[in-house]
Each structure stands twice: as C-alpha cells, then as structure tokens.
Symmetry: C2
Subunit: 224 residues, 2 copies
DNA sequence: CTAAAAGTTTAGACAAATCTAAAAAAATAA
DNA sequence: TTATTTTTTTAGATTTGTCTAAACTTTTAG
C-alpha cells in the first residue's frame, strides 16, 4: 500500500511522462508537487526501492509496469469522481478538480467498480479526458489544438488541456464547451488569435486560449 | 485544519462521551484508536493546545464546543456517505463502515451539502443512527435494547449498537432488519435469550444479539 | 574543449505521529 | 491508612516527509 504522498508522486510522474518522451526529471516533479528537488530525490529513492519506478542517479525516472498501473488507477478514480460530481451532484466543470484530488485516494476497488456502474461506465471525464477501465485500458485518441487549425477547417470541441478554474470559467462564458461544433473563419497573423463560428455565433479567441482547447477535426476521418 | 488522525481522535472522544457521563479516559481512547496510552497523551496535549478539548493531567478529557462541533461534522459526513453507499451504490449495510471511515475525512462543505440534497436529506443512516444536519442538530430519540423488552411487548427495529460486519450479516440472516415490527413471545430465564414473533415468523434470539438491537416500543407513545 | 550554468544529490535538521520502558499519580483494597 | 494495582505521563527513540545549504554531475555556451 502507498501513502497519499507516494500516490501523488506516481500520478505526477505519469502525467509528465505523457508530454515528454524519455525520463522524467527531478525538477519537473518538484515543480508539479510544489516542493523542493531535494525532497523529490528522497521520494524517488523510496519509490525505486518499491520497484514502482526505474531510477539511475542524475538520469531522471520512468514508471515500471506496476508503477504505471497504480498511476493509471489513480487517474481512473480521479476522473470517475469528477463525473460523479458533475453528473450527479451538479457541480460545474471548473469546481470538481480539487475535490477529486482528495477522493482519488480513497482505497476501495469495490467502491470504484460500483461507482463506474452507477455512472454507466463513462468513457470521458467532464474535461474530455479519457477514463481508464478497470484493466487500465482507455482511448488514446489524441486531439488537435484549436490553435493548430487553419482557415475554413471545422471540428468539434473534445477536451481542454488546462484544468484551472479561471480558464474553464472563461470557456464557459465564451460558450466553448465540450461537444460544440465550430469552424475557423480566420487566423489573425498579428496576435495568432482565431476567429471562429461557434454553432451560429461568431467570436474571436486569443491564441493563449486556443492552445488549450482540443478539437476533433471533421476532415481527417478516413474509413478505418 | 486538522489531520486525519486528529479527526479520528475527536470522533472517538465524541462517541465515548455519549456512553459515559463525565470525562473520557486516556485508556479508553487508546483502546478505540488501537494505539498506546502514551500516544494518546501526546495527541491529547495537541488537541488541548488547539482548544478542541479541555484537559487536566490525570483527569481525562472533554470536548470543547468547537471540538464537539468538528466531531459532529465528521459523524455527519460518515453517515451521509453510508447512506450514499447503500442507497445509490447498493452496498449491503455491513459493507459500508470501513469505506465511510475513509470518506468522512474528505474536506469539502459544498460536497457534503450537495450529497445531503442528492440523498434527499436523510434523517438516519443504514444502521439507524441519526444524521446531524449542517448545523449539527439531530434527533436524540434513544431507543430501548431488545434485551430489555418484556413478554407481550411489541415494537419496531430502529437501529443497532454494534456495526461489525459479522453481527450485521447475522441479523440479515435472521431477518432482523430496520423497520421490522416484532412482538416478544417470551424471555427465557436460563440464558436470557428472547423468543419473538417477527412479522409472522417465530424465532429465538440470543441475549448477546438482543443487547445490540434497538427498538422503538409501540406502547410508550403518550400524547406529547 | 573548457568554463559557466543548470540540474541533482547528499548531509544534516525538523515536525508529526508513533512506540517502549520507566516514573509518577490516582484509585482500590486490605 | 498504608500497600498494591491501575492509570497516566514522561523520556527518549523511530519513521515519514519535508527543508536548507553545500557538494556534485551534466548540459550548454563560448
Ligand atoms: Mn482533475
Ligand atoms: Mn478532469
Ligand atoms: Mn459506520
Ligand atoms: Mn452507520
């Protein structure tokens, strides 16, 4: 069994390893954990002793199979609880992350299986992120950033890559919520902002926002 | 804010103070916490520093108003989660206590208010225990032990005073579940066991079991 | 290819919660 | 009321997770 702290380290290492290939660096972990590099080194050794990560001094770390499996299970719990909070308790999508940070550490496989069933086995959380099933399998479909779309292209909003309350509230106000279809009217050279048609409404979105909105384009859908 | 451990101490002190009048003793806490008296003394000092309990050396402890209020809030959370687990996730009444022991420490007043509403503001948990409202108020109706009933008396099962899985499973098997009406046929002198009519079924219940089944008698219902 | 900068680890310390063993106080019994 | 038992507290140690400061490695720049 792992402590809450160990679980948080595993989860953060997992998330960091999705972005960059290769090993996860001490400083990157320290920043995400809001702690000091020296503390990370201490914990890294402990996790390596437990065979949850592979670690060679100065070379960063990588999850082992069992470490990865534990991390994915924490992510599964986090996202299922977020669905519960939004679908059943009617929280808004910008209010659930912090509560799920606590709930994800509740340790009862039976509870999570029943919660999954109660929620009708959701495939995605309120931010569009995929929910691993009990065997740790999940959709790996990666979506394209709104900021990468070109003039005339169309797509559907499938997720966000920033979960902060301020960002999500802003999206909500703009009407940029999951499932909405949109079409690029123009990309402004000057500041990289995007003019788009959201359903029937025309609006301008800053490049900063566009970078964190994830789109499934309607074009690349070959018969596969 | 208190640690999980501090919360558990407060809750145990609260429960112990319901049974005995006067102050709660160090050893009693140690037994319930499954720890040593020396550890209890350490924690007691800490809680006294935080003004959550009144403490004089060798005299035992008593919750202050703010300590009591915190303890009741933990009990509220515990019992609401138990209702959720039984009503929504279809756990059995003997399966929920341990999971609720973890969930009771989740810290989000908003979550608990919404959960309360989602459950339609239940008054009692799956074991018949009263659920404090958000102001800490709750029914203090105390029920009589089945073992105290006399021949011919009738009543309804309102709760249990032992929450162990083995006891609850046994009750389930006997059909002694919340809300069931019963009538005492006879009390056996020899072993103190109770013969009773449960709805239409006749059965014999040991004194040990009868001591932990709580009854609302149909008789004492004066116009008050 | 060296020197500076960036990143990482070690050494030593600290706070929280626990423990064992021993001392001290209170309760009980003779 | 004194002696014995029970209960509680203290002293000192341990474990977990953290920190600062200093040392060490690796990377980057010139
Ligand atoms: Mn989240
Ligand atoms: Mn999410
Ligand atoms: Mn319980
Ligand atoms: Mn209960």
């Amino acid at each position: 069994m792992q402590s809450f702290t160990e679980e948080n380290y595993l989860k953060i290492i997992y998330h960091l390893s999705l972005n960059n290939e290769g090993n996860v660096q001490t400083n990157a972990i320290a920043e995400r954990m809001q702690t000091k590099a020296a503390s990370v080194t201490d914990m890294i050794k402990k996790l390596a002793d437990k065979q949850l990560i592979d670690y060679k001094k100065y070379q960063g770390v990588k999850l082992t199979e069992s470490g990865r499996s534990l991390a994915i299970n924490i992510v599964r719990k986090h996202r299922l609880w977020e669905v519960f909070l939004v679908e059943k308790l009617h929280f808004k999508w910008d209010e659930v992350h912090d509560i799920a940070e606590e709930l994800e550490h509740i340790n009862s496989p039976e509870l999570i299986e029943r919660l999954d069933e109660f929620l009708s086995f959701p495939k995605n959380d309120p931010h569009g992120d995929p929910i691993p099933d009990k065997n740790g399998k999940f959709d790996t479909a990666t979506f394209i950033k709104l900021s990468k779309l070109k003039k005339e292209e169309t797509g559907i909003i499938m997720g966000v890559s920033d979960h902060s309350s301020s960002f999500l509230k802003h999206l909500e106000k703009l009407g940029l919520t999951l499932g909405k279809p949109l079409k690029i009217i123009d990309v402004i050279d000057f500041d990289g902002s995007v003019e788009l048609l959201l359903e029937t409404k025309k609006l301008n979105v800053s490049r900063e926002v566009a970078k964190h909105v994830l789109i499934k384009t309607s074009i690349d859908n070959p018969a596969s």
